[in-house]
């Protein structure tokens, strides 16, 4: 096959991602001239119908944006409403929320690692095929995933769209001994998670470097999950620089735009392309990993956590595996120290005002803002989901991966190989396409 002339590659349906999208790639005379990730997932208009609802409703409603990371939506929603009402949830209730979130990290990351991503590295179409020759590995993955789900079930009532989360805390908190059986499973999960890190670290990684700015919450003392201050690591200029801004100024920095080919919005951060998610979190929060997770990261070749920055998107699977160890350790820490709080929730009386909330969904930073009327009715809702933020960076990664292949001497790539390469470059980011299409809020600048 010949790379001269014009080739157009259409990937009608992207598989092993959540939601529906296609890719359009254009190559002119050996140069990639266009990559368009088209998200054709139908919009569901959450922001429109959140308006007019009561201030206690966002956690249940926004959970339905995404079946894979409902807790992320519930947590960002709770924070935004509580911020608007001037209430802070701390102490054991905040710890329990983080425990629930750890369950989601464990479940969602393990799903991505074993069921969606690893088959790419091992030359298998899917997990069923993978299980034919790596049965023990797949069982280890399913077992770890199940432990994540067990936390969600115990604390949230069920793994998908948990029912036990409310503004102010929970409907019911567990007694300390109810969490004990989870601790036993988590100790097994720690061994499995460490084994997962070793397993994925041995995969073959294509050479690739991305130069997107990295964006994650930062919460000194913790590897940020459920709270923190937005922090950006830039690459341009003399070496990586880190800067922060208050969450209340999020929409001044992150601007969303719309492109004709997609039902998802795109975003820039201070007018630049950026990436949120595991690579960003690891760069910005690495020094606060638990010692066991930090050691696993070092052994996996990610470099010294806290100083090393991993910029190869194909290695995101290793960072995810390290984050599973981190979430398991964090969950064990919380369970060990847990004492049932006297009340399951704090009162959150409504008041007029606006509030913001952001947390680290498994795929990256998830921001909510609500404006409330005095009786708690929502008058405005804005949600910025990780995949919409990452869309431009993903397209750029696809372009680079294909260009690098076209520039490789030797036999030319056929369409099948390029298709597979594009899919891999996209799956590196675990894009959650239902989320990307559902929120779409926009700041329109009209001169």
């Amino acid at each position: 096959m010949n790379d001269r002339g014009t080739r157009v590659l259409r990937l009608d349906a992207l598989a092993r991602v959540e939601g529906e999208a296609s890719l359009h790639l254009r190559v002119d005379g050996g140069t990639v001239t266009g990559t368009r990730l088209r998200i054709y997932e139908p919009p569901r208009f959450f922001e429109a119908f959140l308006t007019g609802r009561g201030h206690t409703e966002p956690p249940d409603i926004t959970a339905r944006i995404c079946g894979i990371c409902p807790v992320a939506y519930q947590m960002s929603a709770c924070r935004a409403v509580e911020d608007a009402c001037g209430v802070t949830v701390d102490g054991p209730l905040a710890e329990l929320r983080r425990l629930l979130y750890c369950g989601e990290w464990i479940e969602s990351h393990t799903l991505h690692i074993y069921l969606l991503h690893a088959p790419d590295f091992l030359g298998r179409a899917d997990v069923v095929e993978l299980a034919r020759d790596q049965r023990a590995a797949v069982e280890r993955g399913l077992r770890t995933k199940q432990t994540g789900n067990a936390i969600l079930e115990q604390l949230g009532g069920r793994p998908i769209h948990p029912v036990n989360v409310r503004v102010g805390g929970f409907y019911r908190t567990p007694a300390a001994d109810e969490l004990r059986s989870l601790a036993e499973r988590l100790r097994q999960a720690r061994e499995d998670a460490l084994e997962t890190v070793r397993w994925v670290a041995a995969f073959d990684f294509p050479d690739a470097v991305c130069d997107h700015d990295l964006f994650a919450l930062r919460a000194p003392g913790h590897y940020a999950i459920d709270s923190g201050t937005p922090a950006v690591m830039t690459v341009h200029g003399p070496g990586p620089a880190l800067r922060e801004f208050p969450l209340s100024r999020f929409e001044r920095h992150v601007r969303q735009g719309q492109v004709p080919h997609s039902t998802a919005l795109t975003a820039t951060l201070d007018d630049r392309r950026y990436l949120t998610g595991p690579l960003a979190r690891y760069a910005i929060n690495g020094r606060w990993l638990h010692p066991v997770a930090a050691e696993a990261a070092r052994d996996a070749g990610l470099g010294e956590p806290g100083t090393a920055v991993c910029r190869n998107p194909f290695r995101s699977i290793v960072v995810r595996a390290v984050e599973v160890v981190q979430a398991v350790e964090e969950a064990l820490r919380i369970i060990d120290a847990y004492e049932q709080p006297p009340r399951p929730a704090v009162e959150v009386p409504p008041r007029q005002g606006a509030g913001v909330g952001a947390t680290e969904a498994p795929r990256g930073l998830l921001y909510h803002r609500y404006a409330l009327a005095a009786d708690g009715t929502l008058t405005e809702a804005r949600i910025v989901a990780p995949t919409a933020q990452n869309q431009t960076a993903i397209e750029e990664d696809v372009r680079r991966a294909v260009q690098a292949r076209l520039d490789t001497p030797g036999p030319a790539a056929d369409d099948e190989e390029l298709t597979h390469l594009c899919e891999r470059a996209i799956r590196n980011h675990d894009p959650c396409i239902s989320c990307a299409a559902h929120f779409l809020s926009l700041t329109v600048e009209r001169a």
């Binding site: 939601g19 919009p43 569901r44 922001e47 409703e57 929970f170 926009l442």
Partner: protein, 288 residues
């Protein structure tokens, strides 16, 4: 290390006696199809008994020869699980195609069975919705309504829930394999509370709860967590809404909250239309 998918190792269709399964997505959150991947203990056993022929969330391959799947699929499939509601003209076409190539079609979840939360648009002007969310609404094609699959094609079985329950899903698939009807009871959440031994939250604490008019299936989770049911499994077949609304008012819910709680995940269910507004009726009769 190889980076290309290996050749399909499954036996060809002529020698493979396993029934074929397809999973489809329309407007949804992916939660219901994810329930299949959440069957951690049963996933590999299930995959041994059925050939998962089309399931984009799990595999790019289609059929025994492992060719690339498209969003349309080749078929025929013995069992199609359909998630999501119909909200675009293209999807209205695609569901016809899915029906044609499926021997048995089962909807999974509130979106596919009742239009889902996105059916809230049915009660508003979709142009307003579009304008509220997009600066350039002309880029986005959407219908004015979100409708269940049964509004477009015949459906063999509807599984309720937002999301569906894992055990019920396994029962539906197993029943299909055994050639019998799925054993999915049609009673209300209240029965499940009794079976679970949960004290009634309404009787004990005066907590408003939709349990009496909500289809069973979840195992009565909310009351077990001290919360009233908010109806995510949709209505039972003939809900007595008048007495339900009266009870909810008695338990302190405002008329507005009552309307809202019915207008959420199963808003377009015909059994909910209309939810009696007892306060307005009282006003009318006192005026008359």
């Amino acid at each position: 290390m190889a980076t290309e998918p290996g050749p399909g190792t499954a036996p060809g269709p002529a020698t493979d006696p396993r029934p074929t399964l397809a999973v489809w997505k329309f407007a949804s959150c992916d939660g219901c199809q994810l329930t299949l991947l959440d069957c951690e203990d049963e996933l590999l056993a299930l995959a041994a008994r059925v050939r998962i022929d089309h399931f984009l969330e799990m595999t790019p391959a289609e059929g025994a020869d492992g060719e690339r799947a498209s969003s349309y699929g080749r078929g025929p499939y013995d069992l199609s699980l359909v998630e999501g509601s119909i909200t675009t003209a293209e999807d209205a076409e695609r569901i016809q195609h899915v029906r044609r190539i499926s021997r048995c079609l089962v909807t999974i979840g509130a979106c596919a069975t009742a239009g889902g939360i996105q059916a809230l648009r049915n009660f508003a002007d979709v142009e307003d919705f579009l304008a509220a969310v997009y600066a350039q609404p002309e880029y986005v094609a959407t219908l004015e309504t979100s409708t269940p699959i049964s509004a477009h094609v015949p459906v063999d079985f509807e599984l309720r829930g937002c999301p569906i329950d894992r055990r019920q899903l396994l029962e539906v698939v197993t029943a299909h394999l055994a050639g019998r009807k799925p054993r999915i009871p049609g009673h209300s959440v209240c029965y499940e509370c009794k079976r679970r031994g949960t004290t009634c939250v309404t009787v004990a604490h005066g907590t408003p709860c939709l349990g009496p008019v909500t289809h069973a299936g979840c195992g009565a989770i909310c009351p077990a967590y001290g919360r009233g049911c908010y109806g995510c499994f949709g209505p039972t077949s003939r809900p007595n809404l008048r007495s339900m609304v009266a009870q909810l008012r008695h338990d302190g819910m405002s008329e507005q909250d009552i309307q809202r709680v019915f207008h959420t995940f199963n808003a377009a269910s015909p059994e909910h239309a209309p939810v009696p507004d007892l306060a307005a009726e009282e006003q009318d009769s006192s005026r008359a």
